[in-house]
């Protein structure tokens, strides 16, 4: 792999950039792999990368029915934070946040991790108490996260209206080392690095069936032929239920469209991520200048990756109230992505009832921030049969009732 650097750019520029190689390979599928990963989103690609990097397992293929990174990895609002209440969540999201910190250097691909800070507003007494509880939990866990006063909030985000009148800002939970990253680049960076380590990435290759015998999984059938494998990872947020069905088991997940939108680009006006859960909206500004705004999930199950209007309206109302200056800005584009929702709103990283099949799903509205940690834990689980970070997120927690519920903190979104 040719290394990316300013020097390389200058050199290639002189030759009008004809010398660049492909970012990732475009191989024909082999008849058999040790590990087949279905889904070339961030989580699937990170799993492939860490299988190769951490565990030396390179006989791996990632199958993607569309284009890599085209699901929720390329549709989310790129928030990265780890100040979660429950220990298992804090564990995986903090691992993830730490991995994000030097991911650009590790992958030699600038994923633009921007630790600009994430601010979660408290706008009711109840929410304030919930954040206080989280702040205590974070401090004891070792996650940097603190309560801030309305005055400090106004200094961090001058465009905010803290006065209400409807829901005055009473305080906030601030994680200075949270932030954002360039979502597409995360997928591309992992794809390039994994490909460099010998992983095959096959796009436009839809899995149409899963083969198993009495011992477990034996392979997959795809739109480009059958592929045998020893282990199979299903990492297909939004369509997890469909793949599980092919494998012959059921999942406790629902698939719903989640809404998002961006404004036209403007010069920098907000320097961190603000999440306002009471009024229901969150906002940050991309490096390009667009206000990136996350909305709610539609109230019905669906597979259409489309924008609907109801949540856009609700979210924009909330943000116009919170940031009055946005009223004269304009919505440039709205879209939807399909998220898997579990009963406790926490993910599943687990073995399945079918030996050899592993599943990673159920990230709900908060999967992007978890990509590195999720891939790391999933790779451990697949390679070694168990992983300390993945452990609590096993499927059997639903039958045991061992929920990891983050809605405690009144959060509507992660």
């Amino acid at each position: 792999m040719k290394r990316y650097s300013a020097f390389a750019i200058a050199k290639e520029a002189l030759g009008y950039h004809v010398g660049w190689e492909r970012a990732w390979g475009n191989p024909e599928p082999k008849p058999e792999y040790e590990v087949v990963i279905v889904g070339a989103g961030g989580h699937g690609l990170a799993t492939a990368y860490y299988l190769a990097k951490n565990h030396g397992i390179t006989n791996v293929v990632v199958l993607e029915k569309g284009w890599l990174g085209g699901g929720n990895t390329g549709r989310n609002t790129t928030i990265i934070r780890s100040n979660y209440l429950q220990d298992p969540s804090a564990e995986i999201f903090e691992l993830s946040r730490r991995l994000y910190e030097d991911l650009s250097q590790k992958l030699n691909f600038n994923i633009m991790f921007s630790p600009r800070g994430v601010l979660m507003l408290a706008q009711t007494e109840h929410e304030l108490r919930a954040w206080e509880r989280t702040a205590h939990a974070n401090r004891l866990f070792g996650i940097e996260s603190e309560m801030v006063t309305p005055e400090r909030i106004k200094r961090i985000v001058p465009i905010i209206n803290i006065e209400g009148p409807r829901y005055p800002v009473l305080g906030g939970l601030w994680q200075a080392r949270g932030g954002t990253a360039r979502h597409d680049a995360v997928a591309w960076g992992y794809a390039r690095a994994a490909s460099d380590l010998g992983v095959d990435i096959i796009q436009q290759c839809e899995v149409t069936g899963i083969d198993r015998d009495e011992h477990g999984v034996t392979g997959v059938r795809t739109s480009r032929g059958a592929i045998r494998c020893k282990k199979l990872c299903i990492v297909v947020a939004g369509h997890s239920g469909v793949l599980a069905d092919m494998a012959g088991f059921r999942l406790p997940v629902e698939s719903v469209p989640l809404q998002a939108l961006v404004s036209e680009p403007i010069k920098p006006c907000i320097d961190c991520v603000v999440m306002a859960n009471t009024v229901h909206g969150y906002m940050s500004q991309s490096d390009k200048g667009e206000l990136v705004i996350g909305g709610g999930a539609d109230g019905y199950n669906a597979y259409t990756q489309r924008g609907s209007f109801q949540h856009v309206e609700e979210t924009v109302r909330a943000l116009t109230e919170t940031f009055p200056m946005i009223s004269r800005l304009r919505m440039l584009r709205q879209w939807g992505g399909i998220v898997d929702m579990t009963g406790d709103r926490s993910p599943i990283i687990s073995k399945t009832p079918v030996p050899g099949i592993f599943i990673n799903c159920g990230w709900g509205t908060g999967g992007f921030k978890a990509i590195p940690g999720s891939g790391w834990a999933m790779a451990g689980l697949v390679a070694k049969g168990e992983d300390p970070v993945a452990g609590p997120f096993s499927l059997d927690r639903f039958t045991e009732g061992r929920m990891i519920d983050e809605s405690v903190a009144a959060a509507v979104a992660h």
Partner: protein, 1016 residues
């Protein structure tokens, strides 16, 4: 030089001059001008700087597709960045400023990027993914801040918006999008058959291109005259609603459409009108008559100000009477652009030549051009444009078979280049909701596939495209296609009178097929496409797309995201098709295999103000107020939001030392209720009536305890769990009749509980004979709590409230102090307590009567905080404090309220799961701090072992914590692992970096353990 023509201009009124300011300079235009046409008339061709290279840019287009001329318009609370000059109607006093440059538009330091790139194209597609990585900290502190400042377009507004916005909710049979000839024909045909028609047009003028194409005759008259006639006819029809300045922003599922009407942008601050109006339309059928957009041609330096779309050039000439230059070169792949040559010629603007990419040029339009003395060069193209801030000339040459410009070059002097790469139907709306496209190779365009249109609720295609949007570029076909679409739409919505409006006779000039031309590389450094702009605003060139493909970003979505092609504020209206054609060529695929990127709403950006509508300030989440709200406010209440309600947190009285603090007020309120009597407005408490023969059976399933055995006139505290077995709401259930129950819920939980009940009734127990009705708003309720409570009610009289007649947990109806009332003997404070409910309209009267009667007994109102403290003193749980979605009734020592007898209830099976039934779960306990004055912070965690630093293993957390004025010490409730086994144990709570609070585990009932006070 661009200038106003001495005559002409269909939409301007030369008798009405308008003054405006551009970059501080006072200029003049006419009513009817757009900001763009007025600037052009004043020879302002340099109107902006591009995103990445800060190259000088001028107008490319005349409408919604304009990528370059973005400006900050207005001042102060009416300032708005990034406005397209082509969409801004000129008005007296308008101020506009160009953006994205420093220090000035003419001299912009950012153009250094362009200079560097001209030496070596270092800012190629995605270059930023390959660099800025070392040292690591530099991204946050150096690179990103610099990039962010350089990026972005206009400046953000600083002030809150001065304008108002509103929403319309409309149903119609047929929504016609687009007021050109196809749309007007469709509307006419649909309306003639009796359908309710809504037709909207994004510009201020009906007629679309018919106003401009003056050589075409419809029904023996000019296009403009025909349009006028149609508009008159339509506006006379009762079943037709017409709107100009109204853009259909998006189509959503089941015929839902969003329309964006710019009511007062051209008359800012006009009294009594909103600035924008958002139409939320549910249409039976939608007719998309959105026309087509002309494509630029990617030749070298095709972005120098003075290079424009050919159709835009003739728009400026014919609609606004403006010549965009003095000497023009027209470069085309089709016949249509000859109209521009003719229009310019007619207007007295010299046309140096028409360069036609086609080897053979025969049609009638070229013939007319030749007849007018215009030189037509077949098989020629532009190699490059000369000039920096304005076109000075073009280098031209013959096109080779490969589509390059080769052979001998010539130079033509000119200050205007009119280009036409053919037309693309506007298929955005068609595609928003799943409509599919088909590639028409002959016409070189994607057009709607009528077999695969968007479908409605019944699975039938509910959207029809017509006219140019449907790929028909000729007038007669547009008209007939529109009529057919209108007829079909009307018929599909049940309106078919068999009326077919007469087809007007059309005299138009037939046109030959275009030659697709996606990329025009020239020689030398122009061979690489680095100066061949596709996406003008984002500075994406042909070379960028090729590089993306080379690096494996072969999917059209990858190429888009890697290069940012089509991601600008114009969303690729002029660039997407050229870009994907270049991509297809690079990867050796056909255009339809590559496909388009996804079209997303809105068609053009819509204001957040319009989306917000009236829901701002006091109307943002309207406050729910109890009937006594104003009285509370007058009584010094400090309100807090509880769900959608506002409830008094406490009542701060005036004292000789000034107004009480919140803490003082709360203490006074508590002690008064404990010692005398307090009044609480409990109206917000959720109230749901459950009625029917199966009501008891239903409630037995919804609550964990048995409700069917409750006797009429009795109350029972009930718990509700979700399917996971966790407690989610609680409240007192009252049996108000044999088949009728009144279920009280928490104030914030009423809607959720009601929805929960309905979901189970509608999806699982649909055969139950039960109705539920929320009556929270119908009743005002006051809790009268304290030792003197009975005396107050007795003074009001009318109902026997003695312990014998109305024992604890019972209920009676009667006339209390002359008011029809329901009285519940229930207590959340642990005191002798009655909750009195009256019809909401009598709420204030009740409150006043109670206050008056209570005066001699020391009655004072108390708020939610006193309520919370008193219930904590009694060890009563509060949903949301002691519960958090992971807590079972058993965890809270409420196992007594979970029936062991019932075969089933929601959550029963879940509670039997291993983890929920396990020992050592977190359980509710009380805490007594070592120092009675120390109040534990809410949410503080107890740890297994205190360590100097993290990580410390936690064993539970504080759920409620107060200073109890009744007991004169702090009290707290907590959920602690194995808590019930830990009585007497001292736990450590590290509440801050170097502070540990110690507290002993005690019984959570701190006050009146035997419950004697409420049972008197």
């Amino acid at each position: 030089m661009a200038h106003r023509l001495p005559s002409g201009g269909l939409v301007i009124d030369r008798s009405k001059p308008v003054e405006f300011t551009f970059n501080g300079q006072k200029l003049k235009g006419f009513e009817g001008d757009t900001l763009a046409s007025a600037l052009l008339a004043n020879d302002q061709v340099l109107l902006g700087r591009s995103f990445k290279y800060h190259r000088p840019r001028g107008l490319i287009a005349s409408g919604a597709e304009e990528p370059n001329a973005l400006m900050g318009v207005g001042e102060g609370p009416r300032f708005e960045p990034n406005q397209r000059a082509t969409g801004v109607e000129l008005h007296q006093g308008l101020t506009a400023r160009t953006q994205n440059h420093w220090p000035s538009l003419g001299f912009d330091v950012g153009a250094l990027n362009s200079w560097i790139a001209s030496r070596a194209p270092v800012f190629s597609a995605g270059f930023y993914y390959k660099t800025f990585m070392f040292p690591r900290v530099a991204w946050k502190h150096v690179f990103e801040p610099v990039i962010r400042r350089a990026a972005g377009l206009g400046k953000p507004p600083k002030e809150a918006d001065a304008d108002e916005y509103e929403h319309f909710h409309v149903h119609c049979d047929v929504l016609v999008v687009g007021g050109g000839i196809a749309g007007l024909s469709a509307a006419r045909a649909a309306a003639a058959n009796g359908a309710r028609v809504l037709i909207c047009e994004q510009t201020p003028h009906w007629g679309g291109r018919a106003l401009v194409e003056t050589e075409t005759q419809i029904g023996g008259m000019s296009g403009a005259d025909w349009v006028r006639g149609e508009v008159t006819a339509l506006s006379g029809m009762e079943n037709v609603t017409m709107r100009t300045r109204c853009m259909t922003s998006g189509l959503y599922d089941h015929g839902y459409a969003l329309l964006y009407e710019r009511v007062a942008d051209h008359v800012p601050g006009a009294e009594g009108t909103p600035r924008h109006r958002l139409w939320r339309v549910r249409a039976g059928r939608i007719v998309v008559a959105t026309g087509a957009l002309e494509r630029p041609i990617p030749f070298a330096n095709n972005d120098v100000p003075g290079v424009m779309l050919a159709s835009a050039v003739r728009d400026y000439v014919r609609l606004w009477g403006v010549a965009p230059g003095e000497k023009a070169v027209v470069f085309t792949t089709n016949d249509d652009a000859y109209r521009t040559a003719l229009a310019l010629h007619e207007a007295g603007v010299a046309v140096a030549a028409v360069l036609d990419a086609r080897a053979e040029v025969k049609g009638e339009l070229p013939a007319r051009a030749r007849a007018a003395g215009i030189e037509v060069r077949a098989g020629y193209g532009v190699a490059k444009v000369k000039g920096g801030k304005r076109v000075k000339g073009v280098e031209i040459g013959r096109l080779t078979g490969m589509g390059q410009v080769g052979g001998r070059r010539e130079e033509l002097a000119c200050d205007l280049v009119a280009m036409s790469g053919g037309w693309s139907p506007v298929v955005h709306l068609w595609s928003h909701c799943g409509g599919k496209l088909t590639w028409d190779a002959e016409a070189a365009m994607f057009r709607p596939d009528p077999e695969r249109g968007p479908t409605g609720h019944d699975g039938a295609v509910n959207t029809l495209a017509c006219g140019a949007a449907n790929g028909y570029l000729h007038t007669d076909l547009c008209l007939s296609d529109g009529r057919v679409a209108g007829m079909s739409a009307a018929s599909a919505t049940g309106h078919s009178r068999g009326e077919m409006p007469e087809a007007p006779e059309v005299q138009a000039i037939p046109q030959a097929h275009p030659r697709p031309l996606w990329f025009m590389p020239a020689r030398g450094k122009y061979a690489h496409g680095t100066k061949h702009f596709l996406d003008y605003q984002n500075d994406v060139t042909a070379a960028d797309v090729q590089l993306a493909a080379r690096e494996g970003y072969e999917s059209v979505e990858h190429a888009k995201r890697y290069t940012t092609l089509g991601m600008a504020t114009d969303q690729g209206k002029t660039s997407n098709i050229n870009g994907l054609a270049i991509l297809a060529d690079q990867i050796g695929a056909e255009i339809p295999q590559v496909g388009t990127t996804t079209f997303r709403p809105p068609y053009t950006p819509i204001s957040f103000g319009a989306i917000t509508g009236r829901a701002r300030g006091p109307l943002f989440k309207a406050v729910r107020k109890t009937p006594m709200h104003d009285r509370h406010a007058a009584n010094g209440a400090d309100f807090e939001p509880v769900g959608d309600w506002e409830r008094p947190y406490c009542f701060r009285r005036m004292t000789p030392e000034g107004r009480e603090s919140r803490a003082q007020a709360v203490t006074r309120e508590i002690l008064n209720a404990r010692q005398k009597v307090g009044l609480l407005d409990a109206s917000t408490l959720g109230k749901i009536v459950v009625k029917g023969p199966d009501a008891g059976k239903f409630l037995d399933l919804v609550y964990t305890n048995m409700m069917s055995t409750l006797k009429p006139g009795r109350c029972r505290y009930g718990l509700m769990c979700n399917e996971n077995g966790f407690l989610f709401d609680d409240g007192v259930v009252v049996r108000t009749g044999e088949d009728e129950f009144l279920c009280h819920t928490t104030s914030g939980g009423a809607d959720r509980v009601h929805a929960h009940m309905e979901e189970w009734l509608q999806t699982e127990w649909w055969d139950f004979q039960v109705y539920t009705q929320q009556v929270t708003d119908q009743w005002a309720q006051v809790a009268v709590a304290g030792p003197n409570a009975r005396k107050v009610l007795e003074k009001l009289g009318g109902v026997d409230v003695s312990d014998a007649a109305l024992p604890f947990m019972s209920y009676v109806e009667g006339t209390l102090g002359g008011l029809p009332a329901r009285i519940f003997r229930i207590s959340f404070s642990g005191e002798l307590s009655y909750e009195v409910a009256v019809p909401a309209n009598l709420g204030l009267a009740l409150w006043e009567k109670l206050a008056e009667a209570g005066e001699e007994f020391g009655a004072m109102p108390y708020g939610t905080e006193a309520l919370h403290v008193m219930r904590a003193e009694k060890g009563f749980i509060m949903i949301g404090d002691e519960t958090d979605g992971t807590v079972t009734p058993q965890d809270l020592a409420l196992g007594w309220a979970v029936s062991k007898k019932k075969a089933d209830f929601i959550g029963k099976r879940a509670q039997e799961r291993a983890f929920l039934a396990a020992k050592g779960r977190k359980q509710l306990v009380g805490l007594a701090t070592e120092d009675p004055a120390e109040v534990l912070p809410d949410g503080a965690h107890a740890v297994k072992e205190v360590k100097a630093k993290s990580r410390m293993i936690t064993i539970g957390h504080v759920t409620s914590s107060y200073f109890s004025p009744t007991l004169g010490r702090s009290i707290a409730m907590a959920l602690i692992e194995g808590g019930s086994e830990r009585m007497g144990e001292v736990l450590s709570f590290p509440v801050a970096k170097d502070k540990v609070v110690k507290a002993t585990v005690v019984d959570p009932v701190f006050y009146d353990k035997e419950g004697e006070r409420q049972n008197v």
